[in-house]
């Protein structure tokens, strides 16, 4: 079926529309149209399809989950949806022992990413920007973790952290009874263990962003500061870094998004057990699978949405204001 249509369409495409076609005559009588009918159809498709998909997959679903957050529903038949008002949120804030730790962990996730891998990525970018030898090799090496999917990273790192056979415990001799270091299970350790893995990836990401930013810094600025007698640190601190402002904004937004959407790494690592609860994992645990607490899970998703909006809206407002000014 599909092969037939593809063999027919090329003909239709290559033969110009005959002048006698009703659409073109009407266009010729009225004002001259810049677009042929085929153009308009194509345009309608190209704009329409993404719009339909976007509305259906983003807006409708987001609104549906906001509505569902005020109901209880086990996912079986639409008539079993019951309106419960704010009950889900009340339970979430007062009874769920995992909710506040999850919020806290999302915040820690953001703080850790912005404090460690981001400056480190900037450091690497500055070093690589000096045209040292093998710069490309280093760039590739540091950027590789970003190319690997989060799920794979989680899988690899949980092998490294495995209490019995993992690399770390084997090297430090902590895989004997009484000496175990439970990197994956111990709630005091596991979040940091995961964050090491997340930082490992985030550093490369930040490095590339800053490297791109540094390439756009006007070399004459550096020259000027060097002529004025500024040393390397001074010229970075007072000349280069201020010009990286747009990059810093992007980095901030990217890191916030990374912290809010953190999910796959942890899910593969230990399914968000005690110590590594995250909002996204709570949503999944409540909605996916047999548990099907769809109303309750949606309430958690709404909390996540509100947090995201609280972060993103000020950013967008600031950006648009800047655009209008310029």
């Amino acid at each position: 079926m599909t092969t037939d249509t593809t063999t027919k369409t090329p003909e239709a495409a290559t033969v110009p529309p005959p002048g006698a076609a009703p659409g073109t005559t009407r266009a010729a009588r009225g004002h001259r149209r810049l677009l042929t009918r085929r153009d308009r159809i194509t345009l309608a498709f190209m704009a329409g399809v993404p719009t339909v998909l976007h509305v259906a997959l983003v807006w409708v679903t987001a609104l549906a989950s906001i509505l569902l957050a005020f109901t209880t529903w086990d996912g079986i038949g639409f008539d079993s949806i019951q309106w419960v008002g704010l009950e889900n949120f009340e339970q979430l804030f007062s009874d769920n022992p995992q909710f506040w730790p999850a919020v806290q962990h999302n915040v820690i996730w953001f703080a850790a990413l912005i404090l460690v891998p981001t400056p480190f990525g900037l450091f690497l970018a500055v070093q690589l920007d000096k045209r040292i030898r093998f710069s490309r090799v280093y760039q590739t090496a540091f950027f590789l973790p970003v190319v690997i999917s989060m799920a794979c990273i989680g899988f690899v790192w949980q092998l490294v952290y495995n209490p019995d056979t993992g690399l770390i415990n084997s090297v430090v001799g902590a895989n004997e009874p009484g000496h175990y270091i439970d990197w994956i299970g111990d709630p005091h350790l596991n979040l940091w263990a995961v964050l090491v893995a997340a930082s490992w990836r985030h550093t490369g990401y930040m490095m590339i962003l800053y490297l791109a930013g540094l390439k756009s810094v006007d070399p004459s600025l550096r020259e000027a500061s060097a002529l004025d007698g500024a040393n390397e640190w001074q010229s970075f601190r007072h000349v280069v870094f201020p010009t990286l402002r747009p990059t810093n904004t992007v980095v901030l937004v990217v890191t916030i998004i990374e912290a809010l959407r953190a999910f796959d790494l942890v899910f593969v690592f230990n399914k968000g057990a005690q110590g590594t609860e995250l909002l996204s994992i709570l949503v999944t645990n409540n909605i996916i699978g047999e548990s099907s607490r769809i109303g309750y899970g949606s309430a958690i998703a709404v909390v996540l949405l509100v947090i995201s909006l609280a972060v993103i809206i000020p950013y967008l407002v600031a950006t648009f204001r800047k655009e209008r000014r310029s």
């Binding site: 090329p10 259906a56 019995d164």
Partner: protein, 437 residues
């Protein structure tokens, strides 16, 4: 690249038409999403010679074993079983939407609350007609497991397996250990094992469900089967002193469990038993799958969890049972009845067990002559039980066990001292979950 009949290649589509084609395809795919759920088994609609079956047996061994059953059934009745196998976990996670869409006629499922849930939601067909024929094949405990809350039959059990304390005979011989029959003996044995440099009880709770098995054992030994049912059904309170006592007993045993359990999978924990580093391991008999060496497997043995409360002795066995259910509107009802009648016979079970020796037949009439020593013991244990439980997550609401109990038990294992706060938190959450629908 398509060739025209004459052999010449047709001109390739222009970029624009290709784009609009791709857009159209995307649109079609978008519109097709709700239809995808209809893919499962609606193809062979009213063919009287075919029964469709949704299977979760995605592992090689059970998949082959089931295939053999269906081949034998086809030979005897002329009805083909059209199997639609899905990954085990995926099957479980999609079961709600699967059963609401256009499910296969028959599907693999578990006995107990998880079966009754779908029966109560009218997503399954009662099969009293089938049971009229196969009733004589099953012991009383299995009949109880196959009924919905309305007293009708909804389930045909195929096989079952016990949870118990597994150990290696050679290790017990070497150190002169004896199988404990009371709680005090068990604790004493753990102490001895620890002194002898063994891990008394292997343990891995990364998957979050093994801890439920330990809770179940202590709970029904201490408080009996009826309390287990009440507690799992949401009727008894988690703040009850009886529950507290379960955790007190568990705390006593916890120091003898393997360290670092939260980061360890059950497979890794089983390996410590294989390697003779651990003395015992509380798990289902599927632990045998980890014993790949024949000599090691022959060395594996088990005993029932020791008695704690003399009023209940060892009368309850945790024996999760797998079998079949019929979806809400099977297309070939007559064929389904025939298939289930066959699946309820000892012969069908024998065919299955020939391929998978880690489980035992659910029927009391099954031929036990080909059983391994381990299977024979499991069979005696299950058939001698006064009551059978399924497992915490099969006897209770899955939303409760997965979102409340799994994290709660993991928390207990990390910090056995905070039981009181933990139990009141469980009770609060339980009330809201069991109150909804």
């Amino acid at each position: 690249m398509r060739l025209s009949p004459s052999g010449l290649s047709l001109p390739g589509p222009s970029r624009r038409s290709l784009l609009s084609g791709a857009g159209g395809a995307a649109l079609l795919a978008g519109a097709g999403i709700p239809l995808l759920s209809a893919c499962g088994g609606s193809g062979s609609a009213a063919d009287p010679k075919t029964v469709t079956l949704g299977s979760n047996a995605s592992d090689a061994v059970p998949k082959k074993a089931f295939a053999e059953i269906y081949a034998t059934f086809r030979k005897r009745s002329g009805i083909t079983v059209d199997v639609n196998t899905k990954d085990h976990n995926t099957f479980q996670e999609q079961i709600n939407s699967y059963l609401q869409g256009t499910p296969d006629d028959v599907f693999n499922w578990f006995a107990g609350y998880r079966m009754q849930f779908f029966a109560a939601k009218k997503l399954a067909t009662p099969i009293d007609d089938v049971w009229a024929k196969i009733e004589g094949n099953f012991p009383e405990a299995m009949k109880k497991l196959s009924k919905g809350e309305d007293g009708k039959y909804y389930f045909v059990p195929l096989y079952t397996y016990p949870w118990a304390l597994f150990y290696r005979r050679s290790v017990f011989q070497q150190h002169g250990y004896e199988v404990p029959t009371t709680w005090d003996e068990l604790v004493a044995l753990c102490k001895r094992m620890k002194k002898d440099g063994l891990v008394p009880i292997a343990f891995g709770d990364k998957d979050a469900w093994p801890a439920m098995g330990t809770f179940d054992q202590i709970n029904f030994r201490l408080n009996g089967y009826d309390f287990h049912v009440e507690l799992m059904g949401g009727k008894a309170s988690w703040t009850d002193a009886k529950v507290k006592s379960v955790f007190d007993h568990w705390s006593e045993l916890l120091p003898y469990h393997q360290d670092g359990a939260m980061g360890r999978t059950w497979q890794d924990a089983a390996q410590t038993l294989v390697a003779k580093k651990a003395g015992m391991y509380l798990l289902g008999s599927f632990v045998g799958q980890q014993f790949t060496d024949k000599a090691d497997l022959d060395d594996l043995d088990f005993f029932a969890f020791p008695e704690i409360n003399p009023a209940h002795g060892q009368d309850t066995v945790e024996a999760p049972t797998d079998g079949f259910m019929v979806s809400k509107a099977p297309k070939n009802h007559a064929g389904v009845v025939k298939l289930l009648e066959y699946l309820g016979t000892p012969e069908a079970e024998a065919v299955y067990l020939k391929a998978d020796s880690s489980v035992v037949a659910a029927s009391s009439k099954a031929d036990t002559s080909s059983y391994t020593a381990l299977q024979k013991k499991a069979y005696t244990m299950i058939s001698g039980a006064k009551s059978l439980t399924q497992f915490m997550d099969r006897d209770s609401r899955p939303d409760f066990t997965s979102t409340v109990m799994q994290p709660a038990l993991q928390k207990f294992i990390q910090n056995p001292k905070g039981v009181d706060g933990l139990l009141s938190s469980i009770e609060r959450q339980k009330k809201t979950i069991f109150a909804s629908s």
